[in-house]
């Protein structure tokens, strides 16, 4: 989770006092923010050693797990909210994790860089892979193993029988409800089973 504006916009979606599971929680900043400002509790899941250490330093409870191995340690509907913020693009099996998110949480919130944003489209039209604020990596040197679009996630959710409670875009910290697939650098979904 890089951008503070995105973090705060997504935090607004989390009910006060919610039990939260943050998949791919990074350095724990989001959970820390939710705990401090919205009275939430919960855990982060991280694979990276440095991030696990950062979470422990912050006093954020973190479980070191490889998400590609599944969420077997978490029971069905054991969290109010499961966050998957900028995680999906790192996962080998994003579909399984989407289902798992909906299984473990009563509410799933998924956010990721929208590849169909017009800036990216323009770059592709010019024949080059985009390098933007939201996708800051060169194509040959990136931690992302996939890209997807706002529209793609709607199709994947439908395919897995998940209900889309809400979906919109985020651009420059503002909510984008008109043509988010074209106009937003970040895609956000609220999902439930």
């Amino acid at each position: 989770m890089s951008d503070l504006a995105i973090q705060h916009a997504i935090a607004e979606l989390v009910p006060r006092g919610a039990r939260v599971l943050d998949l791919g929680c990074g350095d724990g900043a989001m959970l820390d923010y939710l705990q401090r400002t919205r009275g939430c509790t919960g855990y982060g899941v991280e694979i990276d050693d440095a991030n696990v250490l950062a979470c422990i330093r912050r006093g954020v409870d973190v479980i070191q797990l490889n998400l590609d191995e599944g969420l077997a340690v978490f029971e069905d509907a054991s969290f109010d909210v499961v966050l998957q913020i900028d995680t999906l693009q790192h996962l080998r099996n994003a579909e399984v994790m989407l289902r798992e998110t909906a299984r473990v949480g009563r509410l799933g919130i998924v956010a990721f860089p929208n590849f169909a944003h017009w800036l990216n489209r323009w770059s592709i039209l010019m024949g080059r892979m985009p390098v933007t604020k939201r996708l800051p990596y060169q194509w040959y040197d990136t931690p992302n193993i996939r890209v997807g679009t706002h529209a793609d996630l709607a199709a994947l959710a439908a395919r897995n029988g998940l209900r889309v409670l809400d979906s919109f875009g985020l651009q420059e910290g503002r909510t984008v409800r008109f043509a988010p697939n074209l106009l937003a650098g970040t895609s956000v979904y609220k999902l439930a089973r």
């Binding site: 696990v52 973190v62 479980i63 029971e75």
Partner: protein, 403 residues
């Protein structure tokens, strides 16, 4: 400036009822403390030891070189568990052979050495004994209980037996119980000891002998389980014992002098390296294991080995809850830090994840680090920046919460 450790002992007149129904009378506990207990007695951390360690956790004994405590890399001034901030207590467990009452001491009921009559003690019994020591030291609530392996089991048991007396549990390279394979290894070690003719049914003291053969083999088996396959291969591989290597080198020199070259001289060298003996030490790993076994048999007590491995076997907090670990851990109230090591096959990460899951099921505060270290179970005693960093960060927060 090195931390100077001073071994202490406390005598207990009040009998200790044990889980087996037996009672231990007039027993002593050996212990050491490091750092200073603060005014409100809130900065105490109990460190529990594993199979072959003791109350000598950190520091050195004055005037004795190479007398570092077994977790000296973890605990001391400025270390991950910082004795400038915490009052750290190491206790030797009952049945051990390093100072606390054990099978080599006199049974007050018979005025004879306990030997085989020393009562079977469990992790729960040890925890009860430790709690009494803390009572005597005037410590009502511990900032943390910490341990690795069997020590981690004690930290976990503390959280279940005295949930109101501790704020944090640090459980490293541990497990909620032993697997059949774990018990099997323990049983082989015990049979090695018990079938040693010098064991005399556990009463070898009065015969003036020590069942060293059994102890050596027990230690060799144990040692294999502490290491990973990779580390063993890296350290020893198929290297031949030093003497054989020297011989081989000489043979090589001879072969190259001959300058005949070709396959035949290689064959001669290879042939020279093996002793073709079934009983001599041939490979370096054999030499290493024998050395470890010999060293161990010099200082460890055979009855203690049986008692401690049995305590490991019996530990199973879920047993009283129909095997449901989540139900068993419901009593725990403290916050947890769990650490496991990827190459530990004795207490594998899978076992720590079972604990994590049970704590998650109970919505307890828990952090879990799975350290990708090559050293197997032994990793919990070794320096690893990620491991030490996590423990240090955790205790930093514990210290912060006390202030």
């Amino acid at each position: 400036m090195a931390l100077i450790a001073v071994a202490q002992s406390m005598q207990f007149a009040q009998p200790l009822p044990l889980q087996s129904g037996a009672v231990l009378r007039d027993y002593a506990l050996a212990y050491e403390t490091y750092g200073t207990l603060n005014a409100d007695k809130s900065n105490a951390v109990l460190v529990c030891h594993a199979l072959n360690a003791s109350h000598h956790v950190a520091g050195v004994y004055a005037g004795r070189s190479k007398s570092e405590g077994w977790w000296d890399n973890m605990i001391g001034p400025g270390k991950a568990l910082d004795t400038d901030r915490f009052f750290v207590i190491g206790v030797n467990n009952l049945g051990s052979c390093f100072g606390s009452t054990g099978p080599m001491h006199t049974n007050p009921a018979t005025d004879r050495v306990y030997g085989a009559d020393f009562p079977v003690v469990t992790v729960e019994d040890w925890v009860n004994a430790q709690a009494r020591l803390l009572d005597a030291l005037g410590i009502q609530v511990l900032a943390a209980v910490m341990g690795g392996s069997l020590g981690g089991m004690q930290a976990l048991s503390w959280a279940l037996q005295y949930p109101e007396r501790m704020l944090h549990a640090v459980v490293i390279a541990s497990a909620p119980n032993l697997t059949a394979e774990n018990i099997a290894f323990n049983e082989v070690a015990r049979r090695a000891i018990v079938t040693d003719p010098d064991f005399f049914g556990g009463n070898f003291y009065e015969h003036g002998v020590v069942p060293k053969r059994g102890l050596r083999i027990a230690r060799m088996i144990g040692h294999i389980t502490y290491l990973s396959d990779d580390v063993m291969n890296e350290k020893f591989g198929r290297q031949l014992r030093p003497a054989a290597q020297a011989l081989a080198k000489a043979a090589q020199a001879i072969a190259s002098d001959g300058a005949d070259g070709g396959d035949s001289s290689d064959a001669v060298v290879a042939a020279a390296q093996y002793l073709y003996s079934t009983q001599e030490v041939e490979f370096q790993i054999e030499s290493y294991l024998r050395y470890q076994g010999d060293k161990f048999a010099e200082y460890f007590d055979a009855n203690t080995y049986l008692l401690i491995t049995r305590a490991l076997d019996y530990f199973d907090p879920a047993r009283a809850f129909g095997g449901d670990l989540s139900l068993a851990l419901r009593r725990a109230a403290c916050k947890f830090l769990l650490v496991s090591f990827t190459t530990d096959w004795r207490f594998s990460p899978k076992r720590s994840r079972e604990l994590v899951k049970a704590l998650l099921d109970n919505q307890r505060h828990v952090s879990y680090a799975e350290i990708d270290a090559p050293h197997g179970h032994d990793a919990f005693l070794l320096d690893d920046a990620r491991y030490m960093g996590v423990v240090r960060a955790y205790f930093d927060n514990v210290a912060g919460s006390l202030a």
